[in-house]
């Protein structure tokens, strides 16, 4: 597939804000190449605080870059990086990582918390973040198989108001913490970290 210049046609329908359904793979690879020094070849990070990009939804990736660009999300390097690219370029980069196969992080987790974490996930998170064999919402990040260090950091930012999330998530997160305390978070993280199989990662 790398021999020739060709267009990839995606049959799925997208709204206007979404990254392109038709794009030049060579150009997208060239634009994305500098993400990989930090996020890993093909967007597969060695962890534990820099997230995997491979297989993330393209609308999620694009939206995230726009939020870094505007400073809505707390960051150090990500804001200047996001500012360097035009919307068109960001859409190509997002489309490029969306077609990569996700690779689950191989990392330690507390096995004793996994079953409870799965229950919390099903009640509070699954609707948008999918579960092991279901799909993610277009706008939600992939949690299964993501690096725990990164998820922990993001949760802390969300709690401190440095990483605004949709109201529906904010409400659910607060309810989860009010009912079950901080241990609920540890359980959720253990559950996501436990999803290391190929199927689970998707």
């Amino acid at each position: 597939m790398k021999y020739l210049f060709f267009l990839i046609l995606l049959m799925a329908s997208f709204c206007d804000a979404a990254p392109p359904a038709v794009f030049d793979l060579d150009n997208a690879a060239l634009l994305s190449k500098d993400c990989e020094g930090c996020h890993g070849t093909d967007g597969v990070s060695q962890g534990t605080v820099i997230p995997n990009l491979a297989g993330a939804h393209r609308k999620f990736l694009f939206d995230t870059m726009k939020k870094y660009q505007s400073g809505k999300y707390l960051s150090t390097v990500m804001q200047p990086i996001a500012k360097a690219y035009t919307d068109q370029e960001l859409k190509l980069i997002a489309a490029y990582y969306a077609i990569k196969s996700p690779v689950a992080a191989i990392q330690p987790f507390n096995a004793a918390l996994v079953a409870q974490g799965k229950k919390y996930h099903q009640k509070y998170c699954k609707k948008c973040h999918g579960s092991d064999k279901e799909i993610n919402d277009d706008e939600a990040s992939q949690l299964a198989g993501q690096w725990t260090g990164f998820l922990e950091m993001s949760l802390l930012d969300i709690k401190k108001g440095n990483h605004p999330v949709p109201r529906k998530m904010d409400k659910r997160l607060k309810r989860l913490l009010a009912r079950h305390g901080n241990k609920a978070m540890a359980s959720l993280l253990a559950y996501y970290a436990s999803q290391q199989g190929q199927k689970d990662a998707k």
Binding site: L30, K33, T76, A84
Partner: protein
């Protein structure tokens, strides 16, 4: 279409397209294009990997002087004791498994007319395109009394490996109350913040084990990068600018660059003719493109190699590309990340050129971290795009960690820097 189905569907189109489109290439039985890469560091190894990824039919030969590469980036952590030299070493097994032919030899000559690379062991390699990724060399003669042989006693440690070990051992052998001198050459040199990060990492070690000791930095320049951060940490942890300062910075404003050394007496002379002796000296000489680049005629009067920004092809000799520290890209710093970025631009451009296609317009990035304490690191990132004339680079965006960031952010930068190292080295060597 749901995400997983969509992915399956894409795989199907890609699979079919690849099968149909590559068939004529196989039948045509044309000879494969050859690329010879000189140098197995950040630039060379990345270029080999990304050429194979872009087009597996390209015959890629990588010639490296050593079977094991030791990264200079992150090597300052060896001096504080936070890292071993082994953790900085990488081999070429993964590149071999990608189909790269790895040759351990020293290149003695490039013949641009015959398009051949000749090694010390008498091997010759024909190329359609050659990539020179040979890093830096030193202008030994700029410091009277210093030489490559003298570096076996007075290390530069600006190429990692035995030089790093030598300096670390000298620090270990030094008495408490000793003086460590670090000389910083005029710009441009490899990784501008690194001498100051090194001073800080050495100070971490001295404070723990030899607290009466002192570090004097002799800097040929008047400003240091990330200056506010370095001075903040030095004030906080090392009494900077007080009587008891563990770190002192003498700079170009006082003509404090080192111009002469007496190896036996361990005595340094500055441009202003101040004389200072030290117990351990880390003498970092001024730098230039690697000798092979100079001998081939790839350099201009600056002693660096001018290149075309679209493909990193030399503007002096066709079919030879220069990437990494040896390349002259003015505002792009000489760092591993920038070399990695250039290597990808070069590899993708060469793959396009072999297909008869004009390369797409590239961009370049540098991203790096300096670790100043267990809980304090500073990031620096810059993105460069081509100007309309395609012969100049514009720094379109960039920045460093804001000085007023919270402790949580500085701790995070330490975690990011170590994750950065794992990912960049995997991207280069695996």
């Amino acid at each position: 279409m749901p995400n997983n189905q969509r992915r399956q569907f894409i795989k199907k189109i890609l699979g079919t397209s690849a099968a149909v489109l590559s068939a004529p290439t196989l039948n045509a039985a044309i000879s494969h294009k050859k690329v010879v890469i000189i140098g197995g560091g950040s630039g060379g190894a990345t270029a080999a990997k990304y050429l194979k990824r872009a087009d597996p039919s390209i015959e890629v030969t990588l010639i490296s002087a050593k079977p094991l590469y030791t990264t200079c980036f992150m090597s300052n952590e060896v001096f504080s004791g936070d890292r071993t030299l082994e953790s900085l070493q990488f081999n070429y097994q993964s590149l071999k498994s990608r189909g790269v032919r790895v040759v351990i030899d020293w290149v003695s000559r490039i013949d641009p007319d015959k398009k051949q690379v000749i090694t010390q062991n008498g091997q010759s390699f024909a190329y359609d395109r050659c990539i020179v990724a040979t890093g830096i060399d030193f202008k030994w003669q700029d410091i009277a009394g210093y030489s490559q042989a003298a570096a076996e006693q007075i290390p530069h440690a600006w190429q990692a490996g035995s030089q790093t070990t030598l300096l670390a051992n000298q620090l270990k052998a030094m008495k408490d109350g000793g003086v460590v001198a670090i000389s910083v050459p005029p710009k441009p040199y490899r990784c501008h913040p690194a001498p100051f990060e090194r001073a800080t990492q050495i100070a971490m070690y001295l404070k723990r084990h030899k607290p009466k000791s002192k570090i004097i930095i002799f800097d040929a320049n008047t400003k240091m990068p990330m200056q506010a951060h370095f001075e903040h940490i030095w004030r906080k942890n090392y009494g900077y600018q007080t009587e008891q300062a563990m770190i002192e910075w003498r700079n170009g404003a006082d003509e404090s660059g080192i111009v002469e050394i007496d190896i036996k007496q361990k005595r340094l002379t500055t441009a202003f003719e101040d004389i200072e002796t030290a117990d351990v000296i880390n003498l970092i000489p001024a730098q230039k493109a690697a000798q092979i680049a100079l001998e081939t005629g790839l350099t201009d009067q600056s002693n660096w190699c001018p290149v075309d920004l679209m493909s990193l092809e030399s503007t002096r000799i066709p079919f030879i590309h220069v990437i990494g520290d040896s390349a002259k890209l003015d505002i792009l710093p000489k760092t591993a990340y920038a070399a990695n970025s250039q290597a990808k631009v070069c590899a993708l451009a060469i793959a396009s050129l072999f297909k008869g296609k004009t390369p797409d317009i590239p961009l370049y990035m540098n991203s790096c971290y300096a670790v100043l304490a267990k809980d304090y690191a500073v990031s620096s990132v810059n993105i460069y795009k081509l100007a309309k004339n395609k012969i100049e680079l514009i720094n379109v965006s960039g920045g460093i960690t804001p000085l007023d960031s919270s402790p949580r952010i500085f701790q995070r930068e330490v975690n990011f820097s170590h994750n950065w190292y794992r990912n960049i080295t995997t991207d280069i060597f695996n």
